[in-house]
C-alpha cells in the first residue's frame, strides 16, 4: 500500500477541508472565546458535523457508520487543526469509538455518536504530565464498582454525555495488569467536574470521584484487562492528536509563508531575505517528515500491524516537535503583529501547546520508544 492518500481519501480530505473552513473557521473559535462560552464548542455545529457523516467515520457500516479508519479520521482532524475548530470529534468519534469498538458498550453509545447527540470525554490523566500509570481506585461494590480518586485534563469533561474512565481494580498504579476501563454516563452520583479554561480557550475538567457507584455493565471489555481497550483508545487518541497537530502546524506555516510574501521592510519583501527563507524551508521539511510519520502510523493501525504502536509514538513525538517549531516560527516571522490578540497566529501557538501535552509529549514518546528498544 503506497504511503499517500488514495483517491477516496483525497476526496474526503477535500470535502472536510471545504466544510471545516466554511463552518468552523478560526473566527468561530474566536467568537466562542469572546462570548466566554461555557460549553467549549457549539452543540449546533457538532450536530451539523454529524449530519455530514463525519462522526461515524470509524464506526462499522453494520452499526450505521462509514466503516473507515484512522487515515480517514486523520484527514478530518487535520482540517480541524488547521482551522482551530473547537470540536469533540477527537475524544468522541475517534478515541472513545476506538475504546468501545467490539465491546458490549458499542451498541449503547454508537447511535448517539453518529447522530451528533453524544459527546464523550476521556478521563485518563491523573497528574500534570501524561503517564502510563493508573491510580484512580475502583472497588467491587454490590453488583458493580465504586470509584474513588481524581482525573485532570479531561477535555469536554464538564459537559460530556459519556466518560471513559481508566481505573485500578487490582495491583498498584504502575502495574500493567489490574486496570479496568469504564463507560460512565454523565450525572453519576458522587462525580463532580470543575471546568478549567486552558491557554487555548478550550475547556478541560478536573474530575473528582467520591465513591461513584457504577453497574458491572459499565465495564468496557474485561475487568482487570482494561489495558486492551485503553491501548486502543490511546493509539487512536495519539495518532489523532498528531493529525490535528499537523493541521495546526501546517496552518501556522501557511500563515507565516503568506506573510513573508506580503510584508515589506528595507524596500523589499521580507521573504526575499535568505535568513528567513532558510528557516521557512527547514520548517517545511520538518512538517513533511511529520506528515509521513503520521500517515505511516495511521496505515499500520488500520492494518492491525504489530508495528503500529511504535509508529504511533514516532508520529506523536515528531508532530509535537514539528508543530512546535511551526508555531514558534509563525509568531517570530510575523514580528510584533504576531504578539497581538487580534491576529490569529497566536491562537495556533496556544493550540499546539495543548495538543503537545495531550496523550504524551515528544519526551514521553521518545522515552517510551527507548524503553521498547531496550535502552
Amino acid at each position: 500500500m503506497p504511503l499517500y492518500l488514495n483517491d477516496e481519501q483525497s476526496m474526503l480530505r477535500d470535502t472536510a477541508r471545504d466544510y471545516v473552513a466554511e463552518n468552523l473557521p478560526v473566527s468561530h473559535m474566536r467568537a466562542l472565546r469572546d462570548a466566554d462560552d461555557a460549553t467549549g464548542f457549539s452543540r449546533e455545529a457538532w450536530k451539523a458535523f454529524a449530519e455530514m457523516g463525519f462522526t461515524g467515520v470509524m464506526i462499522g457500516e453494520n452499526q450505521g457508520g462509514l466503516g473507515l479508519g484512522h487515515v480517514e479520521a486523520g484527514v478530518v482532524l487535520e482540517e480541524i487543526g488547521r482551522n482551530l475548530s473547537p470540536s469533540p470529534f477527537l475524544t468522541t468519534a475517534v478515541a472513545a469509538v476506538a475504546a468501545l469498538e467490539g465491546s458490549a458498550q458499542a451498541d449503547r453509545w454508537f447511535a448517539g455518536i453518529i447522530a451528533g447527540d453524544t459527546v464523550a470525554a476521556l478521563a485518563i490523566d491523573e497528574g500534570a504530565k501524561h503517564e502510563a500509570s493508573v491510580g484512580l481506585k475502583a472497588e467491587r461494590s454490590g453488583n458493580g464498582f465504586r470509584l474513588t480518586g481524581s482525573k485532570q485534563f479531561v477535555t469536554h469533561g464538564h459537559v460530556a454525555d459519556l466518560l471513559i474512565v481508566a481505573a485500578r481494580t487490582a495491583g498498584s498504579a504502575d502495574d500493567e495488569a489490574g486496570v479496568t476501563l469504564f463507560a460512565i454516563p454523565k450525572d453519576a452520583a458522587g462525580l463532580s467536574a470543575s471546568a478549567q479554561r486552558l491557554t487555548d480557550a478550550s475547556l478541560a475538567a478536573r474530575l473528582d470521584f467520591q465513591g461513584v457507584e457504577v453497574d458491572a455493565d459499565a465495564v468496557i471489555g474485561e475487568v482487570d484487562a482494561g489495558r486492551v481497550p485503553l491501548n486502543r483508545l490511546l493509539r487512536a487518541g495519539r495518532v489523532g492528536a498528531s493529525a490535528e497537530l499537523l493541521g495546526v502546524g501546517g496552518g501556522a506555516m501557511d500563515m507565516a509563508v503568506g506573510y513573508l510574501k506580503e510584508r515589506k521592510q528595507f524596500g523589499a519583501l521580507i521573504g526575499s531575505f535568505q535568513a528567513l527563507q532558510h528557516r521557512a524551508a527547514h520548517l517545511y521539511s520538518e512538517l513533511e517528515v511529520a506528515r509521513a510519520a503520521v500517515l505511516k502510523a495511521q496505515q499500520l493501525l488500520d492494518h492491525g500491524s504489530d508495528e503500529a504502536d511504535a509508529a504511533v509514538s514516532v508520529a506523536k513525538a515528531m508532530t509535537d516537535m514539528a508543530a512546535t517549531l511551526a508555531v514558534q516560527e509563525g509568531v517570530q516571522m510575523h514580528g510584533g503583529i504576531g504578539m497581538t490578540d487580534e491576529y490569529d497566529i497566536g491562537f495556533y501557538m496556544k493550540r499546539a501547546r495543548v495538543l503537545s501535552e495531550m496523550f504524551g509529549d515528544a519526551n514521553f514518546h521518545a522515552d517510551r520508544l527507548a524503553v521498547a528498544a531496550g535502552y
Binding site: M1, P2, L3, Y4, V257, L260, K261, A268, L269, G271, S272, Q274, L276, Q277, H278, A280, A281, H282, Y284, S285, E288, V289, A290, R291, A292, A293, L295, K296, A310, A311, S313, V314, A315, A317, M318, M321, A362, N363, H365, A366, D367, L369, A370, V371, A373, G374, Y375
Partner: protein
C-alpha cells in the same frame, strides 16, 4: 492488495530464499563488502559475484527499468514488494552504482535509443563503473560557472579542463561529464557528454581527506577527444540533463539518513560503553535522551523516504522534493555519527587500533561531514525549497 501482487510477493520471496547466498544477508562491515562492479571489479567473495550475476540476470539490480535495457520491467508496486522482501531477509544491495542511481535515470529520459541500448544494460549487469564529472575548482555550489571546455572538431569535441571531487574517478571506467560548449550563456552553454576514462588525455589524482581515505579525485582533461555521438540530449542543453540527474543524486544521498542492515549500532554502541542502569535504561540519562529524540527523527524520516519513493513513482512528488530529502537525510546522518562518537567516548577516537576496527566510527564520522556539501550543500537545498516549493520571492 491485489491477488496478482500477492502472487508476485510469494514468488519473489521463494526466489530470494533460493538465490540470495547466506553471506549476502550479513550486514555490510567494510568497503570490501560493497559491490561496485566495473571492468576492474575484484569480488571479495564468490557469493558477492554470484549475487550480482543472479540479480543482474533478472534485471533486478534495476527492477523498474524496462527489460529492453537490462531492467526487470517491474511496476512501482512490484518494485516496492521486491525491496520489502529483500529487506525482510536483510539482503545486501547486489550492486552499488552511480550508473544506477544517477546516469541511468537521466539516460532513460534524455538519451538516444542507441545510447540507452549501449549503456543501460552494462550498468544493469555491473559491467561498467561510472563516475560523475560535475564540480570544478571554481564551480562548486555555483555549478553552472563550470569552465571545462569542449571545442567542436568535426565529429568530435576536444575537451580541456579540470574536475574535482570526482568520486572514485580512479576506479571508474566511464565518466558522465558537464562541459562548456558555449560562452554565450552561463547555463545555456553547457553540454552533457559521456566518455571512456581510458581515452588519451584523461588523468586522475586522488585527494586525501580528513577521514584518511581518498574517495574523491581531481580529474584532468588534456585534449581529450570525445565523439559528438556521445553527447546526451542537445548541444548547450546539458544543464537540463544535469539538474534532472542532480535530483536523483540527492535522492540517493538522502538514503544515507536511513540505517540499513540489522541491529542499531548507535544504541548497541551506547549500551556497550555506558551500560544500563537497574531499570534497564542507558546509564547516562542525557545521552539517552539525545539518542531517543534522534531515533524519533530517524524513524520518521524512514517513513518520509517510503512516502517520497511512493509519490515519485506515482508522479505525485514535487519536482524539488529531492532537495528536501537530501537536506533532511544528510543532516540526520551527520547527527547520527556525532552521537555514535559521543557514545563511543575515547574508545572511538583510536585511529588505527584493532579495538576501534581501524578507526571505523571516527572515519565514518568525518566522512559524513561531506554529506551536506556534496550534491549541493544543505544551504543550496534550502534555497531550492524556499524558491521552488514555498515560492518565496527570488533574490
Amino acid at each position: 492488495m491485489s491477488a496478482g501482487l500477492d502472487a508476485f510477493r510469494a514468488e519473489t520471496r521463494a526466489w530470494l530464499e533460493a538465490n540470495c547466498p547466506p553471506e549476502m544477508r550479513e550486514p555490510v562491515r567494510s568497503d570490501a563488502d560493497v559491490c561496485w562492479g566495473g571492468r576492474h571489479f575484484a569480488p571479495s567473495s564468490p557469493a558477492q559475484q554470484q549475487w550480482l550475476e543472479r540479480m543482474g540476470e533478472r534485471g533486478w539490480t534495476v527492477p523498474d527499468w524496462p527489460q529492453a535495457y537490462g531492467g526487470g520491467g517491474l511496476s512501482p508496486a512490484e518494485t516496492k514488494v521486491l525491496r520489502e522482501e529483500m529487506a525482510a531477509i536483510r539482503a545486501r544491495n547486489p550492486l552499488n552504482s552511480f550508473g544506477i542511481s544517477m546516469l541511468g535515470p537521466a539516460l532513460l529520459k534524455y538519451g538516444s535509443e542507441e545510447q540507452k541500448l549501449e549503456h543501460l544494460p552494462k550498468i544493469a549487469r555491473g559491467e561498467i563503473r561510472w563516475c560523475q564529472g560535475y564540480s570544478e575548482p571554481n564551480a562548486g555550489s555555483d555549478l553552472a560557472a563550470l569552465a571545462t571546455s569542449a571545442v567542436s572538431d568535426g565529429d568530435n569535441y576536444i575537451v580541456n579542463g579540470q574536475k574535482v571531487w570526482t568520486s572514485y574517478a580512479d576506479k571508474a571506467d566511464w565518466i558522465f561529464c558537464l562541459v562548456r560548449t558555449s560562452k554565450e550563456s552561463k547555463q545555456g552553454g553547457i553540454s552533457f557528454v559521456l566518455f571512456d576514462m581510458e581515452t588519451p588525455g584523461v588523468s586522475t589524482k586522488p585527494i586525501l581527506l580528513i577521514s584518511g581515505y581518498s574517495p574523491f579525485c581531481e580529474t584532468f582533461f588534456d585534449n581529450v577527444r570525445v565523439p559528438k555521438a556521445n553527447r546526451v540530449y542537445e548541444e548547450n542543453k546539458g544543464w537540463e540533463v544535469a539538474k534532472y540527474l542532480l535530483g536523483h543524486e540527492r535522492e540517493m544521498i538522502s538514503g544515507m539518513g536511513l540505517r540499513s542492515g540489522g541491529g542499531n549500532p548507535l544504541i548497541e554502541g551506547a549500551i556497550a560503553t555506558v551500560g544500563l542502569d537497574s531499570n534497564g535504561r542507558l546509564a547516562d540519562p542525557l545521552l539517552r535522551a539525545q539518542i531517543a529524540l534522534f531515533e524519533v527523527r530517524a524513524k520518521a524520516f524512514a517513513a518520509m523516504s517510503e512516502r517520497f519513493i511512493d509519490e515519485l513513482k506515482a508522479g505525485k512528488a514535487h519536482p524539488a522534493q529531492p532537495s528536501m530529502m537530501k537536506y533532511v537525510g544528510t543532516e540526520l546522518n551527520k547527527a547520527r555519527s556525532e552521537l555514535i562518537m559521543a557514545a563511543g567516548g575515547s574508545d572511538a577516537l583510536e585511529w588505527e587500533s584493532e579495538r576501534s576496527n581501524g578507526g571505523t566510527d571516527a572515519r565514518a564520522w568525518l566522512r559524513t561531514k561531506a554529506n551536506s556539501i556534496e550534491g549541493g550543500t544543505s544551504e543550496i537545498q534550502l534555497n531550492v525549497i524556499a524558491k521552488r516549493i514555498l515560492e518565496l520571492p527570488g533574490a
